[in-house]
């Protein structure tokens, strides 16, 4: 066994280094608070990233660029329904998830019905969803219900619940991808659509499910995020456009499709958030943070060994 690490472990490694650097700078006492806040922020990236992973794994060229606008739209829709009332949290969640599911289906419908490349189809839909969010968001800022905010900040015995719940989702994704029929079918389609079709896999239906789940994860993230950050905002999804793709690829999922890694997303998401924390404690400017983010993305992608393309 040589010193080659699995591709997905690089994110965790870099995250660990950054955590170490932050602790070294601001003392051992900061170790746990730093990690726990990074875990919470990473949880949102992971929810979005897991959805994006399903789409990317379903074959070359598949990608969902509408996630940020679906996230924002779902956040606004659920905020409007809940109107700050604790009793309406469940309907709000249902609405957010429904908005996401419909958006995902619309994305896939445009891809198949119009024979559009996924980049273009999801881009065009993202404009439409964004418009809907603008029109819903025209009103005064809505406050999230106290119950939802409390849930996103809830911790039992010093351990934050939200990241734990999202880890549960990751575990579920791992199991489904590894042992579930749907997961296996998804990866088979990603590896060779033709072979999968010949093997009798309903390619269209599996992709439809992947896009729908991706939309749902965007809607769910929007719901949680608006509770966490005290309301919906028109630009709340913007950072997730590039980040959702970056965490998926750094996490070891192949952009060519057919290989997915749900656990790796955590590594990449932690890397992003711990780096932000580290640079904040070093009081670096935002520009440096972007530079370092970009350089590390390229570096990791360039040095990580990949299995030989067939």
């Amino acid at each position: 066994m040589s010193l080659r690490l699995a591709p997905w472990s690089y994110g965790f490694l870099v995250a660990l280094v950054m955590w170490g650097a932050t602790i070294a700078y601001s003392g051992v006492g900061s170790a746990i608070p730093t990690l726990s806040s990074a875990l919470v922020f990473a949880a949102f990236s992971v929810v979005v990233g897991t959805g994006q992973m399903l789409v990317i794994a379903s074959g070359p060229g598949n990608i969902d660029l509408s996630m940020p606008s679906v996230l924002t739209l779902a956040a606004y829709a659920s905020m409007s329904v809940m109107a700050g009332s604790d009793a309406m949290v469940l309907p709000g969640l249902l609405l957010a998830v429904t908005v996401g599911a419909v958006a995902g289906m619309l994305n896939y419908l445009a891809i198949t019905a119009l024979h559009l490349p996924p980049i273009i189809a999801t881009l065009a839909w993202s404009f439409v969803f964004q418009s809907f969010a603008f029109n819903l968001g025209g009103e005064a800022t809505l406050k999230p219900p106290a119950a939802l905010s409390d849930f996103t900040l809830w911790s039992i015995g010093g351990i934050r619940v939200l990241p734990m719940a999202v880890m549960g989702l990751t575990l579920l994704a791992v199991l489904v991808l590894k042992h579930g029929v749907g997961g296996r079918q998804l990866l088979a389609i990603g590896q060779s659509e033709r072979a999968a079709r010949l093997a009798g896999i309903p390619v269209g239906r599996v992709r439809l499910v992947a896009y729908t789940l991706c939309g749902i994860s965007a809607g769910f993230a929007g719901f949680l995020l608006s509770g966490f950050s005290g309301g919906a905002a028109l630009n709340m999804g913007d950072t997730y456009l590039l980040e959702s793709i970056a965490v998926v690829v750094l996490g070891g999922t192949s952009v060519a499709g057919g290989r997915a890694n749900a656990i790796g997303i955590w590594g990449a998401a932690l890397f992003f958030n711990l780096m932000a924390t580290m640079l904040n404690t070093f009081q670096m400017q935002a520009g440096i943070r972007f530079l370092l983010t970009g350089a590390l993305i390229i570096l990791i992608v360039a040095i990580v060994p990949r299995p030989k393309a067939g």
């Binding site: 024979h115 490349p117 980049i119 404009f127 590039l242 520009g287 970009g294 390229i298």
Partner: protein, 320 residues
Amino acid sequence: MADIALQRRRRIAPALGTALQIGLPAATLIAMLAVIFWIRPSAMSYFGFGLLFKFAVPLMFAALAQMLVIMLGDIDLSIGSFVGFVTCVTALYLNEAPLLAVTILAAGIAVYAGVGLLIHVRQLPSIIVTLGMSFIWLGAAVTLMPGPGGAAPRWLVAFMSWKPPLVPLPVLIALVTAFVGHLVITRFSYGAVLRGAGANPRAVERAGWSVLTIRCGVYAAAGALACLAGLTLTGLTTSGDPNVAPAYTLLGVGAVILGGGAFTGGIVSPVGTVIGALTLALAGSLLSFLQVPPTWQIGAQGAILFLVLAGRVLFSEHRS
């Protein structure tokens, strides 16, 4: 006999294909113009054309840059932030220290070539490398200039508001660029090699060309075109802003696809891309003329994108 028949089919089929590829966005563009002129006949003038297409110029260059990359079967997610970086460099240095500005821009083009090199040598997915580059350009721009500021050199602003005889400047630039692009990419024999490098790199390699050199050169050319986009944009807005153009990345992709390009590599049309960029730029004006509320405009732009592309599918299905 068979040879002749084959030759004829070869000559007719691509001609029909290109006519459809470019005809549809062109028809859309003309239809949009017709609606605008119908609502506001006074727009049908030298001045009106200049105003309508003013902001299409930088988008057009950004779209052509994207087209070159898509031609190789890659995609560039960093064009928008690179254009933002160029506007910052232009507004900060081009006036006071022109040599420094030119050096930085040349270095930017060299970095683009380097990105092409890295993608080729390590066989990396361009989408993720250029994603990383977009953070790098944004970071560099924000470090130079945290917010909007600086001043465009007077000659640049003067050039962008120059009124050439007969044809308004944006239209003139569009015509010249489309013509040059058509010559280089579609007509010249070397253009066929470039497109071949995207469609079938192995064949081009076998024929004795270095795909590595081609990829570096094409990426550098894309960088140079993106520089032009940044320069013309600075001339229009008269200042630099790191966050001025993130939309150019994806609007550029949209223009390339509208203009008949495909992500498979090798299939692009410079004339179509220019028309696609003009269409996307005009869509905004059209919607204001139609008095679509601002909050719905971006959504309507998405709808226009769908309409034009749906038309293409309809026609190409009839053809086959």
